[in-house]
């Protein structure tokens, strides 16, 4: 779906996965990040470019990737947004009987 540069509409799942790993591991080089997220290196680099443009991450001179406050906030905002809607769903107890 997103083998090319995620220019307009990135895969939210991929973004969330990258942020999730960075939240957990704090700082990681691109190869290790690709392994941790299970993404192909090229795909990861494209996503990192997209996230870097929006200041969600910072990449230092050694190639280590770090999550910024903006990245953390965006992730938290996404979680809150999802919860706002999914939290309103009420599921009935269903048990089909024969």
């Amino acid at each position: 779906m997103n083998s090319e540069k995620p220019s307009s509409k990135p895969d939210l799942y991929v973004i969330a996965r990258i942020i999730n790993v960075l939240k957990e591991k704090q700082r990681l080089n691109r190869t290790a990040l690709a392994t941790s997220t299970g993404l192909a290196y090229d795909k990861l680099v494209n996503y990192l470019g997209w996230m870097s443009e929006r200041k969600f991450i910072e990449i230092d001179d050694d190639g280590n990737v770090r999550l910024t406050k903006a990245g953390t906030d965006a992730y938290n905002e996404l979680v809150r947004w999802i919860m706002k809607y999914v939290g309103q769903l009420r599921f009935p107890r269903l048990r089909p009987r024969t």
């Binding site: 996965r17 999730n20 999802i82 269903l94 024969t98």
Partner: protein
């Protein structure tokens, strides 16, 4: 910490959603097995009707001097009963064979996986499945009730005729309409709770459909 709780809440909600969708798959099993269920029930009912028709045609109706015809008629009643049992067991097997919980491993990876599931869920297919499952569940319930009625009606009529013959020495005291209405009341009494629960389930499925339509609309129109 609060964010962790919110993430867990999202995962928990998505888990509830997926469990509900698993149940929808079970309702859908009624749709896939309904045709065969109808064939089984109608098939057995047809055989029963033919046998009873032959008893009528050859004038073997229960009478005081032919107790064997009672036995034959009561034995013939086993045919639709076997049909109902076979039909219900067939549907039960199909419903129980539905594979569920295949999403559990993926969801164990936390919020990103929960998000992926929400994004990748085919809402239109889900809505169609709920509608079809609901309709099939209603038809199955009606068909089963009708089959119960046929058996009850036939049994009552036979028993009624036997009792009338023995007590009043008459072949027919109450007409078919009486036994039909009486059988209907008995079936209604016996299956009342079951029918009520089915009605509530259908209502729950309607409400679920409305909620999921609203959610999918909000989710798809969102700009992140």
């Amino acid at each position: 910490m609060t964010e962790m709780i919110t993430e867990e809440s999202v995962v928990s909600k998505v888990q509830e959603l997926m469990e509900t969708l698993d149940n929808i798959k079970r309702y859908n099993a009624f749709a896939t097995s309904l045709k065969k269920f109808v064939i089984i029930i109608v098939g057995f009912m047809t055989v029963f009707t033919i046998i009873m028709g032959m008893i009528d045609f050859y004038d073997l109706r229960p009478s005081l001097d032919s107790p064997i015809s009672f036995s034959v008629s009561f034995l013939a009643l086993l045919i639709p009963i076997i049909g109902i049992v076979a039909g219900v067991l067939f549907v039960r097997r199909k419903v129980n064979s539905v594979r569920t919980g295949e999403w559990k491993e993926e969801l164990s990876h936390g919020f990103p996986s929960a998000l992926k599931m929400l994004v990748e869920l085919d809402w239109e297919v889900t809505f169609d499945e709920i509608s079809l499952g609901k309709l099939s569940y209603v038809l199955y319930g009606l068909m089963k009730t009708a089959a119960y009625w046929v058996v009850t009606f036939s049994a009552l009529r036979l028993l009624g005729t036997a009792a009338t013959l023995l007590v009043l020495q008459r072949a027919e005291f109450f007409g078919g309409f009486f036994w039909g209405a009486f059988a209907f009341l008995i079936v209604l009494f016996a299956l009342g709770n079951d029918l009520l629960r089915r009605y509530k389930e259908i209502h729950s499925l309607d409400m679920l459909l409305m909620e999921l339509r609203w959610f999918s609309f909000e989710f798809r129109k969102a700009e992140f």
